[in-house]
Amino acid sequence: MTDIISTAPRIRQGHNSREVLMRYAFFLLVLVVFVTFAILRPTFVTPGNIHGMLMSASIAGLMFLGLTWLIAAGEIDVSFMSVAALSNMVVAGLVVDGAGWGVAVLGGLGAGVVFGLLNATLVAVLRLPALVITIATGALAASVAAAIGQGTSIALSHTGFVGDLLGLRVGVLPLIAVIVGALYAASWFVQERLVFGHYIYAMEQNRAAVVEAGVPVNRMLFLLFVLSGVVSSFAGVLLAANLSSGQPYLGTSYFLDGLTAVLLGGMALKLGKPNVIGTLTATIFLIGLLNGAALLGWTDSERQIVRGSLLLIGVGLVVFARTRRKA
């Protein structure tokens, strides 16, 4: 008989050099862009600026983690940024009402859990269409967030232990960046080495096959939606301290960035499939790009256009890579 399996079954990691190039081209692009900024505006690489960018990237990266896997699994969540805004406002509201930061943080995370569970129940259990449902739950979260501040933001006089946490550094790195980095490393392990990650990608390709194989697909989706709610609310809590305020409308700016990071990041390593390392890289790229562009004096309008264009480019590349691979 033929003994064909003895070589590892995963032999199809990019063999031809073009595929390798495509896998790593994105990292190269990031490098080129950042070096260009550094040359044009030396302030781009001052420790203060790098610290600020890493801080923003950490918080945004946290928010986009759940979204990455949801899109990889062929689902969508457009409520993540509103959930972050809600948590942010819950924290601010509770702190202003005299609750301690501990209680406030729990409240903020609780809001994320509640919305995660709501999405998970509606989409994963009742099998309702994810896009329309998360548009609706997102609007609900945004509306509650606005209601907490009665339509305006809430300023915080002190940022409690969360503020202290954000202030901590490991060498030049903010501690929070190290924590988020570690979280992403752990997620990479889950995605690449555990059956959970294996099923996420299988699910996107052929859900029926995965269901037939006895994989509890609905439970996985449930977990993914809860995860998305929880990480988004974590980001919202951190933002309360980072901004020293509760901002009911902070979600809008993260919406495009989240999708862009996930889809553009999908080009890295996995040729169009969203993955955590790609998302993290793309998040850093976006934050750096917007920051650098601001240093170069670009207007909000121009930066918004850059965001939209990048998202379009990301989608285009994903579709291009997939059709190429199928052919």
């Binding site: 329309v132 509306s143 207007t299 939209g308 990301g314 285009g316």
Partner: protein
């Protein structure tokens, strides 16, 4: 058989309207006043136009998330043209042209290039918002508005109806003819149900998808024109309030009547507007309105989704069997 089913659905819809109407009327007698009914119809006009455009996209089984952004850009274009002293028809035409252009781009990217609809329209919507800042760097525009006559769009009456409502009804009538009585309409539904079979039957599916997105963009811009006319100023966030109510109206209507259609969307819009109007009348703050709309939307989808209703029926039957 079919007509009986339709009758049942109409009855359910009438019951809902009566129920909501009575509930608000019992809280505030002003709900049924002529003035309030007129403001309800005005409210319906803006939301309804955006929802009607979206209906076409939903019928061909796609999503358009760009129309709020596109509408904002349409509003700013309209405002800028008026401020520049252009005649009103040119200004309105300019605004609608923005909607048409973005609709064509969306349609081309999705039908021709095969890009995924959700993310593509989010991106083009984002681009449109970016462009809408160009005109005035983000500040609202209201120069020349009084002189231009755009306010008449809001204030004039036609056949005893307020202008905005008349525009909605006229558009809905044209939309209904297009979607339900024309050959293109049959093509829209065929494309949505099974694009391959539609193409093999000679239906120009790609063209119809492009047309659906174009209609969505244009109608969103028409809706925003009425909004600009009633508020007397164009601003960059004008379109933000369109997304949720439009989706809610289309899905609520489709849930009530079994599939998306012009009538279903109007019915959905009426229900949404009744609620929003009623809550405004009861002085409930604006930031609750999205919460109400979204809750209604979730409930409607959940209740009318065949899987969920099957689940519920199953639960009831099991309960009945065990009893």
């Amino acid at each position: 058989m079919i007509t009986r089913q339709l009758g049942m659905r109409l009855l359910a819809f009438a019951a809902l309207v009566a129920l909501i109407g009575l509930a608000f009327w019992s809280q505030s007698a002003a709900f049924a006043s002529g003035g309030n009914l007129r403001s309800l119809m005005r409210h319906m006009s803006v939301q309804g136009l955006a929802a009607l455009g979206l209906t076409f996209v939903i019928v061909v089984r796609h999503f358009d998330l760009s129309f709020p952004g596109v509408a904002s850009m349409g509003a700013m274009t309209l405002g800028w043209l008026i401020a520049a002293g252009m005649p009103l028809p040119v200004a309105i035409g300019g605004g609608l042209a923005v909607g048409l252009a973005f609709g064509l781009v969306n349609g081309f990217a999705i039908a021709r290039l095969g890009l995924p609809d959700i993310v593509t329209t989010i991106a083009t919507g984002g681009l449109a918002i970016g462009f809408s800042y160009f005109y005035s760097n983000g500040t609202s525009i209201s120069q020349n508005f009084f002189m231009s006559g755009i306010l008449d769009l809001n204030d004039r009456k036609i056949l005893g109806l307020d202008m905005p409502f008349a525009i909605l009804m006229g558009t809905a009538l044209m939309g209904a003819i297009l979607l339900h009585a024309s050959r293109l309409g049959a093509g829209f539904y065929a494309t949505g149900e099974n694009p391959v079979s539609a193409r093999f039957s000679g239906v120009p599916t790609r063209l119809l998808i492009v047309l659906a997105f174009a209609l969505s963009g244009m109608m969103a811009c028409l809706a925003i024109t009425l909004l600009v006319a009633s508020s007397g100023a164009a601003n960059v966030t004008a379109g933000n309030q369109l997304l949720m109510p439009a989706f809610a109206a289309v899905y609520l209507g489709a849930a009530l009547f079994g599939r998306p259609s012009i009538g279903a969307t109007l019915a959905g819009t009426l229900l949404m507007s009744m609620m929003l109007n009623g809550f405004t009348l009861l002085a409930i703050p604006y930031y609750y309105s999205d919460a109400i709309v979204s809750t209604v939307l979730i409930t409607a989808i959940a209740i009318f989704d065949p899987r969920v209703s099957a689940l519920l029926r199953g639960a009831v039957r099991r309960k009945g069997a065990s009893a």
